[in-house]
Amino acid sequence: MKGKVVGKNVTKTDALALATGKPMYADDIKLDGMLQAKILYSPHAHARIKNIDTRKAEAMPGVHAVLCHKNVPRVPHTTAGQGWPEPSPYDAVMFDNKVRYVGDRVAAVAAETEEIAEGALKLIKVEYEQLPAIFDLEHAMDDGAPVIHDEPDSKYVIPVFFDPKRNHCAHIDLEAGNFDEGIKESDFVVDHKFKNHYGQHCALEPHTCISYFEPNGRLVLRTGTQVPFHVRRIVAQCLEVPERMIRVIKPRIGGGFGSKQEMLIEDVCAMLSMRTGRPVRLVLSREDVFVSSRTRHQMVIWLKAGARKDGRLTGINMRVISNAGAYGSHAMTVMSNCCAKALPMYKCDHIKFVGDTVYTNLPQAGAYRGYGVFEATYPMGVAMDELAEKVGMDPVEFWKINTVREGDTHPIFEKLGEVGKGVAMKIESCALPGCIEQAAEAFGWKEKRASYPKQDGKIRRGIGMVCTVQGATVAMIDMGAVFAKMNDDGSFNLLMGATDLGTGADTIMAQILAEALEIPVEDVLVYPADTDLTPFDKGAYASGTTPVTGMAVVKVAEMLKEQIIGVASEILGEPKEDLFLKDKGVESKKTTRRVEYGQIAKRSMYAKNQFQIAAIASNASKAPPQSYTAQFVEVEVDTETGEVRIPKYVVAADCGTVINPKLAAGQVEGAVLNGVSYALTEEFIFDKNGRVLNPSFGHYKIFTTQDVPKIETIFVQSYEPSGPFGAKSIGEVCINGPLPALSNAIYNAIGVRFYESPFTPDRILKALREK
C-alpha cells in the first residue's frame, strides 16, 4: 500500500533538534539543588552481608542520604517492565542482605557532587560472608548446587512453575503432534548442542534518571526508559506509595534494545529524592551498564530435527537451558519465545519443546532485541542448512518448502504464547516466499553457489542464508492508547504513551494520523510518553509499537473523521454520507463544495454547537502478527588469520506495508550490524570468580559505522489486516539472522560448523587446525 504520507521517507520529527544538540535527553537538564547519586556494587559473586556500616559515609560533608537494606522497605518485585501481573518472578528487592553476582547492588549515596558520592561509597564498610557460587548454567540445578534465592519471599504472581531451591527459575514443556512418531519418518536427522554467549545492548545513552518533587508534592521521574507506565507502577510498588504520587516523563532516548524495558535505577533515584526532598540525578557509568544493567540470555540448546528425502521436516525437538543470571527478569518469557515466537515459521507437525531457565551468580539477563527468537534461530537456522545439505537440496528450496505461507496456521500459536497459552491464529500476511526469491536473486545465490566449491588459496569465500521471523506484541495483554485533538488551524495534537526510543515511532505515528486525516505530516504534533498527560501504552517492546499503537492511531482518526464531517455537514448543509476528507478539508461528492479544517476547527471552538474535536482510542493486541526476512550473507574467511570479512549482506524483509522506508531500512541495517557484531566480536569475559573483565568499549569491542558491511535491503510488502494500513513490525526480526547465517556461510567457506558463538578469528583458526 502506498499513500500520500504512508510509504514516504518523512524526516524524523526529532531529527533537527537532536542533530543540533538541543537538550532533549534525560541527562540534559540541571535542576537547582540537584544531588548526585552513586551505587555501591558487590565485589563478590555470592555472599551474605553480615554487617554494613554506613555511619562514616553519612557523616561525610556533602552526603545527604545513604541507602542500604537496613533502611529501605523490603518489597519483592520484578524489575522486568512487563504487563501486570508480570510473568517474571518477584525475586528482587531494592537492597538485600545478600548479593548474588559481582556487580549486584549493595548501597547507594546521594551527595552534593559525584566526587563526594564516590568518596562516600568508599567509606561504607561491608562485612561479607562469602558463599559458594555457581556460574555454569548446565550445573545450576545439580544436587548440592548453592541456592541463589534462598529467601522465603520470592514468588511468581501468576500460577507458573518456580523452584528457587534448585535455582530453577522457569520451566515450560509442550508437544504439538508427536515428535517421537514424526522423527521416525526421517531419512536424515541432525542432533547438536548449541551455545550462545553473554552480550550487552550497548545503547549509547547509559541508564539515566533524574527525580524531583513538583510543588504539589508529587514525585517526577525523568528517565530514559522504554516502559514509562510500567516504571510508574513498579516504582510505586517498591516505594509503597500510590501510583498517583508518581509521574514518569520519558524524554528522547539514546537507544534501548531491551535494556531499558526495566525498572532499573528509578527506584533508587526516587527513594533518594524521598529521603532528601531534593532532585537527584543517577546515571550509570559505562562499566555499570555492562556489569549491572541487563544482558542477553546465554543459552544451551540441544536441537534434534529430521527431514524426509523429499526435504520435508519431520520433527523438531528443542531442549533449552537459559541462563537468567542472578535475577529472573524476563526469565520465563524469553525462554518461552524460543518456541512461541521462533518455531511457528517452520512447517512441521511434530514439535517438542522443553525449556528451563536457571539462576546463576552472573550478571542479570533481561530483554534484548530478538527476545528468545534470536537464541532459538541460531540452532534452527544452522540445522536447516545442515538438513538441506544432507537431503541434497539447495537451501533456498529447502527453506521455501519448510516455511509457512499466507493462510497457513501453526499448532504452536495455540499451544504457547509469550506468556502462557497462546491464541490460535491464521497467518493473514506472509511474503516470505517472495523474500527468499528476491533476496537470492539480488545476492546472486545461484551463481555463487555454483562457483564457490572450486576454491583454493588462503582466502575462502562462502555463502549462507537463513529465514527469520518475529511475532509482534504479547497477544491478549499488550494495549496502547492515543488521544488526539484538533487545533484552531486544523493541526492536531497526538498524545500517546508509546515510547520512541530512537527508532522513529513518533514519526511513524504522525504519518499514520496524517494519512488517515488527509493532512501533511507537519500538522501532527506528537507528544509522547508522559504518564500524567498521555494515555496508557505498554511501552516499546515485543516489536509492538507499530502494530499496537499504530492501530490505535487509525482508530482515533476514524473517530475524529466522524466529528469533522459532522461539523462540515452543518457548515455545508449537506448530508454526511456525501462528504469525504481531502487535502486538509472536507469535500462534497455531489456539489464539490469544500470547507477547510481551519474553518471547521474555529466553528467548533468559537461559533456554533461548540465542542472540542477530540478523541481517545485504545487498541489491544489479539494475535501476534509475524514479520519475516530472508537473509543472505557472503563471507571471506582468511584461513591464515581466521578473520571473517563480509563483502555482501542482502536482507529481504516482509514487514507488511512499509510506513517509512528510510526508517525501516535503518532498523534493518542497525539490526544486521547489531547481530554481526555479536556474532564476530562481542563477548563478556569473566574471571573464575564471575567478575566481568572487559566492561568498556575499549575491551568489549562492538562494530561501529566504520565496520558496517555492504547491506542491501529489499522490502517485499504484504498487507496485514490487523495493522495500521497493513503494516507489521521491523525492529527485531532482522537481528535473528546474522548468527546462523554467518555460521552457515563460514561452513560453506571452510567446512567447519560453529555450534558455539562468537566466531572470533582465534576460534576459527583453532577450528581449522582441529579439522
Binding site: S285, K701, T704, T705, Q706, D707, P761, D762, L765
Partner: protein
C-alpha cells in the same frame, strides 16, 4: 563517565623551550606534559594520574612543524598525527611511519594526538613505535642539564615507562634518511575494521639485504626482532627467507593473554603479519 569532572589542576602554557624547561625543573613529578591530551585526559578522568600541573606544550613554537634537512626529517613534539599523514615526504620516504600514523586511532583523535605523545605514553601497543624502531629514529630530549639524543631502541623501558628523567621532555623525533631504494611499511591487526587498539602491529624496513622488523603489542615495550635481519644475509629464495623470518618471531617476542586477545593468537598473527609485510616490501607474491 558523563559529567565526572577532571581532578583539579593548574594549567600552564609555556611559549618557549626554555620556559618549558624551567617549569619542569621546578615542578618535576608534580607536572605532566600535555600535547594532544588523548592519553593524558582519559587517565586523569579515571584518576590514574592526578598531576598538580598540566603543562600544555602546544604553545611552544619550536615544537611545531615537520622539517626536512640533509640528515633526514625532524618531527616536532607538538606535530599531530594527521600532520604526519598529510606529509608527502613522510609518505614517500618513511612509509612505515606514514602507514602507522594512518592506522593510529581514528580521524578525530589523530587531529589532536601527536607522535611525541604516542612514544612518551609508552604503551606496548603504540602504533608509531615499531615504525620508528625500523627507521632508526632518535629522540631529541631537553632537560635541566641540557640536551641529549636517545636512540628510539633505548627509549622504552617498560610498560608506560621511558628513559626520560623527570625534568626532561621530548623536543622532537629525528628520522634519518634511509639508503636509496629502502622501503618500509606498517601493518596492524585489529578486532574490527574501524578504530581499535592493535592486537599486533608489525613494521618492516627493507633495504637491499638489510631487513629490520619491529612489533607492538607483543612485549612490555615495542620491540625489534633482530634475528630476522640475519635471515636475509643467509641462503635461500626470498620466499624461504620470509618463512624463516616468520619462524624467528615467536622467539623474539613475549606476548600476554588479555581481554582483547590470547598470547597464542598474538604470536601467530605476529608471524603472519611479518610474512605479509615482508612479501609486500620484497615484491613476493603469494
Amino acid at each position: 563517565m558523563t559529567g565526572v569532572p577532571l581532578p583539579e589542576f593548574d594549567y600552564m602554557r609555556p611559549l618557549t623551550v626554555d620556559e618549558l624547561s624551567a617549569i619542569l625543573a621546578k615542578h618535576k613529578g608534580e607536572a605532566r606534559l600535555m600535547a594532544g591530551g588523548t592519553d593524558l585526559i582519559p587517565l586523569m578522568r579515571e584518576s590514574v594520574l592526578r598531576p598538580k600541573y598540566v603543562v600544555d606544550v602546544k604553545g611552544v613554537k619550536e615544537l611545531h612543524g615537520i622539517t626536512t634537512h640533509d640528515g633526514g626529517v625532524t618531527i616536532g613534539a607538538a606535530v599531530t598525527v594527521n600532520e604526519i599523514v598529510e606529509s608527502e615526504i613522510i609518505r614517500k620516504k618513511f612509509t612505515a611511519l606514514w602507514s602507522a600514523a594512518k592506522e593510529l586511532s581514528d580521524q578525530t583523535l589523530r587531529s589532536r594526538a601527536t607522535l611525541a605523545g604516542n612514544i612518551c605514553n609508552a604503551s606496548p601497543a603504540a602504533d608509531s613505535c615499531p615504525s620508528l624502531l625500523v627507521l632508526g629514529a632518535e629522540v631529541e630530549v631537553v632537560g635541566a642539564h641540557g640536551k641529549r639524543k636517545i636512540p628510539i631502541a633505548e627509549f622504552f623501558k617498560g610498560v608506560k615507562r621511558t628513559a626520560l628523567a623527570q625534568d626532561e621532555f621530548v623536543k622532537a623525533v629525528h628520522i634519518p634518511n634511509q639508503p636509496a631504494g629502502a622501503k618500509s611499511l606498517y601493518s596492524k591487526w585489529k578486532r574490527s575494521w574501524g578504530e581499535d587498539v592493535a592486537l599486533v602491529g608489525v613494521a618492516a624496513l627493507v633495504s637491499g639485504k638489510k631487513v629490520r622488523v619491529a612489533m607492538s603489542s607483543v612485549a612490555p615495550t615495542p620491540v625489534l626482532v633482530p634475528e630476522i635481519g640475519n635471515v636475509f644475509y643467509g641462503e635461500g629464495t626470498l620466499e624461504e627467507k620470509i618463512e624463516k623470518a616468520a619462524a624467528c618471531v615467536p622467539g623474539g617476542i613475549c606476548p600476554i593473554n588479555d581481554v582483547r586477545c590470547q598470547a597464542e593468537y598474538r604470536t601467530h598473527m605476529a608471524a603472519v603479519l611479518t610474512k605479509r609485510v615482508l612479501r609486500e616490501l620484497l615484491g613476493v607474491k603469494k
